[in-house]
Amino acid sequence: MSATANLTNPAYTKALTELLFQIADDDFLFSYRGSEWLGLAPHIEEDVASSSISQDSMGHAVLYYRLLEELGHGSADELAHARSASERKNSILVERVNGPGHYMEDPQYDWAYAVVRNYFYTLAKKVKIDSLKQSSYPSLADIAVKINMELYYHLLHWKTWFVQLLSTTDEAKKRMNEAIEKVMKDFNDVFSFGDQGESIPQFKLIEEENVLKERWIAALSSVLESVGAELPREIEVHNKNGRNGEHTDELEEALLTLGEVYRIDPAVPW
């Protein structure tokens, strides 16, 4: 099987398309959940920082959606706003609500959950981006180099919160450990490529699922060790795989809000 970019090979194009939808939808939903924290973060500096990170991440989603646009899958705006939940390929983790309530009304968001989700997701993204820098699809490799520079600051930010909160009061540690457990229950498909699990690495678009996951665990282990925490050993994981279009109602609800303006007038500039 050829490991070079070959858009005349339908199997290559299929694997590439699937991977792009997965990483685009991941960053799209991740930045949406991040943006829901605007005005609610623990302090003003955090509001500035996390909204900046959400803005960067939305920019990354746009870069991927544009590659899909080039491949003839419709406009980037349409791909971002107009696809139904069953067409989405993001992981379950990024579609989860920030907590009970609504950001406009009585938001009971959990900052410990935000910190753990954002840190674990951003570290996973770093592992993937490092691998994508060697992708067989040159445009994707170029974008990875660009994203990696911005990601440096995101990772630094969430790691700082993660380490700080796990090194302070008993209440903080308790809430952080509960959040770790909750995040890990949804972590099953973060490193999954779904039905394309074999072909995506075979075409050298990115490395294998288990190689990436092991790298993530290795990077996380030293940080966890430094604060006396660990990943839960036995966890009951959810069976849904977002990479195959399986999702929760929480995604449906997010898409209703996200696509509201676009559905009223698709020509509205953003």
Binding site: S52, Q55, D56, M58, G59, V62, I143, V145, K146, H157
Partner: protein, 165 residues
């Protein structure tokens, strides 16, 4: 017969000097190192531009400002601006003039990052090194917020962006 005055690359560069960062009006996009390639043909100008940060909301404004400036300065119908990601924009693309003009705006120019990932920032007003980082993230994606303990001014700094990160 209409004689067409041909536009040179230098003409385009001179015009680009007038196109400023929409949020930092002392610095041109040329001095920020955002312009990668210029192709001038008989009736068209094509310019490749590198975005500083991928989520920067000013990109569309920059694009339309370039097109407008070209049409105003040169009687040319077709001006195309394309954003590209390769090569990636890095902060060492900012010219010396750009660095000086960032300071005039109260923004400390990006410094070179050391091997351990740390970087050094001086106050753009008094030059003091006695500064504290208030927030790595600032009012725009490319900036951080700091405070000078010497002249007691808050100020901003451009984040270093390097492929070594």
């Amino acid at each position: 017969m209409v004689a067409r005055l041909s536009v040179t690359i230098q003409d385009v560069l001179d015009t680009l000097k007038q196109v400023k960062d929409p949020e930092i009006d002392t610095v041109s996009i040329l001095d920020l190192g955002m312009v990668e390639e210029i192709i001038v043909q008989e009736d068209s100008i094509y310019i490749q531009v590198l975005p500083t940060f991928s989520g920067c909301p000013a990109l569309e404004i920059i694009k339309s400002n370039i097109i407008q400036a070209m049409k105003n300065a040169h009687s040319i119908e077709h001006v195309q601006v394309e954003f590209i990601t390769s090569p990636p924009w890095t902060s060492d693309r900012i010219t010396e003039k750009g660095r000086q003009n960032l300071k005039k705006f109260g923004i400390s120019p990006p410094s070179h990052m050391k091997e351990d990932g740390s970087w050094h920032i001086d106050c753009p007003y008094c030059g003091s090194t006695y500064v504290t980082m208030e927030n790595i993230f600032g009012p725009t994606a490319c900036r951080s917020i700091l405070y000078c303990k010497s002249c007691k001014n808050p100020f901003e700094a451009m984040k270093p962006m390097s492929t070594l990160l």
